[in-house]
Amino acid sequence: MARITYKHPNGTETVLEVPAPNTVMRGAKINNVVGIEAQCGGSAQCGTCHVYIDEACTVSLPEMADDEDEVLYGTASPRRDSSRLSCQLQISDALDGLVVHLPERQS
């Protein structure tokens, strides 16, 4: 279980307690959080679950695999240093307190 904050481009936020096993992407999908599409279902194909990790957030995240790095070149909103695919972030206690910003567009 982890508390995840999804910040929307309009300044509002959605805070969810997401149980494991899940990903940050699926936590959003199952709660119908607007702004995460994840068309490929979480197989790191489509880049439509793009998020920016909050700069002030100190939660440590898993290393980025090559696939994820490649897919992030094609995101609809600009890639930044803080960009991740939320389908590659597995929920665990270690992710408790994670804050992500949703991009303007996913496709």
Partner: protein
């Protein structure tokens, strides 16, 4: 007047996403989702791949958990079937006898596998793959086998090639029979077809092109399990299992009976309206005018189902926008991740960039000098960038792609 009650027929990707998108758009009326299958709406792409390999189970296939439908006030009617639309009264009659009134009706009825039109096609051991039931039947055969099986796959489309690859990975001996001269003929360029064919052969799959199945033979006169696949010219292939993947037919029965305009699919306009403005169609069953292809298209893909769901939800909520999302597709065969951006059919020039020998390359397809699509193998960055480029109106030329050292990633890398 805004709709107060929306009924969605079909609880696949398109239907389920339409229900969710209506709520995301703030639709506050009644949403009813009718599905024939007993399961919660699920993802189909893994059925031919990860589900067969056992790495993804039924629960992980679910698009959303049961609680989602309750939380979002979506009435999900499972195991029921729409039997008749009354356009005058605006009601939908279900097999259970229930009648659902609607202000807006969305047909997301999907498609069904085309049956092999030869004698013996009904024999046990002849399978198609569309739903979870089909996938489970196939899994029991492939994963449950005690010895390597002779698997004959009819059709070298996405389903056929994915099933063949999965069967090979599970230690079986697949033979793919395709009537056309190349694999994935409708979906990719000849360059990509040839490369993929070589990869399948190199990994131990037999691939017979320009060959047709004429009969399936088995033990007993008519209803014994399949044992032999007979091809044109008399070739006989031993078969423990036959998987038929020769395309699908859109489910248009309801629309036809209701007198809607139907071609190959339910005909809709750019806002996904049928010839009755209170009825829409989305996903595999809908034929829509495509700005990307320059002609009406019916697409069988998650992207199309999902993006059309969002378009139709917006239209129903009174925020109409034309459906113009860029088509894209993916397939996984062995370790090969094939991704296609745009519609490459009808291209007149194909330029390859990258390294086909290392299994990492992209084929850039042009028509009259204009980029229309990009097919990538194990080059996700190319695919993603190509989607952005194609959506924006591409300025890439064949000469640029053909130049030594061309790298799409470097050319269009966004400032970090």
């Amino acid at each position: 007047m805004a709709a107060r009650s929306v009924v969605i027929v079909g609880a696949g990707q398109a239907g389920s996403d339409t229900a969710a998108a209506l709520r995301s758009h703030g639709f506050d009326g009644r949403v009813t989702l009718v599905g024939e299958e007993p399961w919660l709406p699920y993802q189909r792409p893994p059925l031919s791949k990860a589900y067969q390999a056992g790495t993804v189970g039924q629960e992980e296939l679910e698009l959303r958990p049961a609680s989602f439908y309750a939380d979002q006030r979506i009435e999900l009617l499972r195991g029921d079937r729409a039997v008749k639309i009354d356009r005058e009264l605006r009601t939908l009659l279900l097999d259970s006898g229930r009648t659902l009134p609607y202000d807006a009706l969305v047909l997301a009825t999907g498609a069904r596998p085309r049956a092999l039109p030869v004698p013996g096609a009904q024999r046990p051991g002849v399978l198609a793959l569309r739903g979870l039931d089909d996938a489970e039947a196939l899994r029991q055969q492939l994963a449950g086998a005690e010895r390597p099986l002779q698997v004959v796959v009819v059709g070298a489309g996405f389903i056929g090639l994915e099933v063949a690859a999965t069967a090979r990975e599970l230690g079986h001996h697949p033979t793919v029979v395709e009537a056309l001269p190349r694999v994935l003929a409708r979906a990719v360029s000849p360059v990509m077809s040839d490369w993929l064919a070589a990869e399948h052969r190199r990994r131990g799959t037999a691939l017979l092109l320009r060959r047709e199945v004429v009969a399936l033979h088995g033990a007993g006169t008519g209803d014994g399990p399949v044992q032999v696949v007979e091809l044109d010219g008399g070739t006989r292939l031993p078969a423990d299992l036959v998987v038929v993947g020769i395309g699908v037919l859109p489910n248009v029965g309801l629309a036809v009976e209701a007198g809607l305009n139907v071609g190959d699919g339910v005909l809709v306009d750019e806002q996904l309206r049928t010839s009755d403005p209170a009825i829409h169609a989305v996903g595999d069953c809908a034929r829509f005018p495509s700005v990307h292809a320059g002609r009406p298209l019916r697409l069988e893909s998650v992207q199309n189902a999902s993006d059309q769901a969002r378009t139709v939800a917006a239209v129903i909520c009174g925020e109409p926008a034309p459906y113009r999302a860029l088509p894209w597709f993916w397939s996984q065969q062995f370790t090969l991740r094939l991704q296609i951006a745009g519609i490459t059919a009808g291209h007149d020039e194909a330029v390859t960039a990258g390294d086909p020998e290392q299994g990492r390359f992209s084929v850039f397809c042009f028509r009259h000098g204009r980029l229309v699509g990009v097919e990538s193998v194990n080059r996700p960055a190319d695919h993603g960038i190509a989607r952005r480029l194609l959506a924006a109106g591409p300025d890439l030329t064949p000469e640029e792609v053909a130049a030594p050292g061309f790298d799409l990633k470097r050319r269009t890398a966004q400032p970090v």
